[in-house]
Amino acid sequence: MSMAAEPNELRDDVLNGLRLSRQLEKVWRTPSGLVGALMSVDHKVVGRRYILTAFAFLLLGGILAILMRVQLAGPEKTFLSADKYNQIFTMHGSTMMFLFAVPVMEAFAVYLVPLMVGTRNIAFPRLNAFSYWMFLFGGCFLWISFALNVGPDVGWFAYVPLSSLQYTPTKRPDVWAQMITFTEVAALAVSVEIVVTVFKLRAPGMTLDRIPLFVWAMLVTSFLVMFAMPSVMVASTSLILDRLVNTRFYDSSSGGHPLLWQHLFWFFGHPEVYIIFIPGTGMVSAILATFARRPVIGYPVVILSLIATGFLSFGLWVHHMFVTGLPQLGAGLFTASSMLIAVPSGLQIFCWLATLWDGRPVYRTPLLFVIGFIVIFVLGGLSGVMVASVPIDTQVHDTYFVVAHFHYVLIGGAVFPLVGAVYYWFPKIAGRMLSERLGRWNFWLAFIGFNVAFFPMHILGLIGMPRRVYTYTADMDWAHLNLLSSGGALIFALSFALLLVNVIYSLRKGELAGDNPWNASTLEWATSSPPPPQNFDRIPVVKHRDPLWADNESLPVVAGLSAERREVLLTSLAEAEPQIREASPEPSIWPLLAAIATTVFFIGSIFTPWAVLWGTPPMAVTLIGWFWPAGSKEDEE
């Protein structure tokens, strides 16, 4: 396939082989040097930074978890003070949810989606760079505050009135609320990019029913982010306004209502669980198909399940509020919808099991993590159906039973697939294989450690141990189970240390991966490992849902894109028919400067409302610089 060329412009249909590769690399590469690195808009560079930063936050959040487990390993320990413990459990939850779980999933999407749909860069690459800087600055802001003893101590949900000025007159809740704004801006930006990339930048022939399941999962997740996250941004902004200028959204004595906070927070908070879980299911589908050596059974069923899960996730938030005194009938209806969401999740699990059953599975490390996911997530789902029921929830609310449940769902549903995804896609990203032997140790330590750490918490909850207590007395009879749980947590932490060792070792000495070491079927494996700056020398044409299995030797391509400037091909939404060639933005320092200006504005505005006044002009200047016509061909069109 070839597109009409403009005269006098060098295009990829007149160059071949090494000459074409070199020319495209020259056009698409990130400029060298520190300033060049800061200007990068390459989705792979930004994606790698996102992944590394999110894992750094995982490490920090994990260290906090270990500190908590050391404190709780025995009764009346004084390892942590009550105040420090409050900060630590808040920091742990906030870090894991806002700085690790959501960003790391989006990070993988930033890296992989453009490769999987067969394009050269993500849509809105400068926005992508801006998003990363916002995420980084927001995370650093939270952790620097913690280091300065201003870390939030009001829980990752920051319920009012506890987080109101009256009950917490320090800056701690402001830090939490503004960190939310940072990370949500970043997440929203990535979501917009993913949606547009999937809708408009797919390779020709990649019709809606040929989109890889991981990409479908990220598409659904992106819509969830766009509908859910504005709710928590409204909540956190109104909380700051309450604290800074007495707007009284949540002050019942002035007509506000504390329950409004819970509604706004959980309208975001419950879909958040699925924002974390749905990408995990996409990873599972990708890994499973490759290692079962057959396509996932029930492609349309899996997609419909993803969409149904996404939609239904907005109708469950009240099950987090069963003990707030809401009318029982309403609570009963939310019980029904909470149970309804088990149906699409169950359908997906049956599709995966059928795929394994009908395939010829090869039990490499990524598949082990997927099997671990299925076991742990099903257990978490079962306790989820239990807490969806009002009478049981009323009994176990705010106990360790709930802690056990959501760690089974979140670690089982997201972290196990994620670690599997690290083993699966590391060869593509780094060009080298991770050690299989260390990988198997990694899996078994993680699986055993996780269950030893979190299963006893079910029992602790049932015998009455409440959440968020920094210690307990010896006569409560919780000591043995807590000690067991702490031991399990150490084993679980060890598994991550092993992953880190494996990554560092394999980066230097790992076996060279080659283009497609797993004999996988999707387009990211059609290019070299690691991929070149332009991703593909020529844009592939897709004629099958599993293009590399259908036509591994000679993948058809489309030619005619510019070879002297950055250009991508736009295709139609449903049929992915080629429509127009579109310029893709050049590297720019302005996204970083805009993020710095926004950071100054955000941080200033928790100290003084005047920051809105003096903080806006620098942002305006950076945005003007960002969009200022630079005389490139892109601007002329």
Binding site: D209, L329, G330, L333, R545, A574, E575
Partner: protein, 117 residues
């Protein structure tokens, strides 16, 4: 494209659209009718929900017909490349999904007095 083609093309998408539209109308409708339901007849909300659940299920039927008429063979070899049939499959599922969600709201209108809202 012939008139018959155009009509059949529309039918592929009708199933996907009817469920969400029915749910949206139901969500707004029961709020709009709340005052009327309290003053006149408490069944009005339930009737609206029941009708709209049927509309959503009609979407499922339309999509199912489109699937039957369309290239079922496309699915057998898992090649893909039939986005309209694919959307019709999604229409089959989304009709059932939205009918279930509307039924949940229907249950509410049967159990809760409209005057209590």
């Amino acid at each position: 494209m012939t008139e018959a083609d155009r009509r059949s093309r529309l039918l592929y998408w009708a199933g996907v659209a009817l469920g969400p539209i029915a749910w949206g109308v139901n969500l707004q409708g029961v709020y709009v009718l709340a005052h009327f339901s309290c003053e006149k007849t408490r069944m009005s909300g339930a009737i609206v929900s029941a009708v709209l659940a049927i509309v959503s299920l009609a979407g499922t039927l339309i999509s199912a017909r489109a699937v039957r008429r369309g290239a079922e063979a496309e699915w057998a070899d898992a090649q893909g490349g039939g986005p309209r049939t694919f959307m019709a499959w999604l229409g089959v599922g989304s009709g059932v999904l939205f009918a279930l969600v509307i039924a949940n709201q229907l249950a509410a209108s049967l159990m809760i007095s409209p005057c209590l809202r």
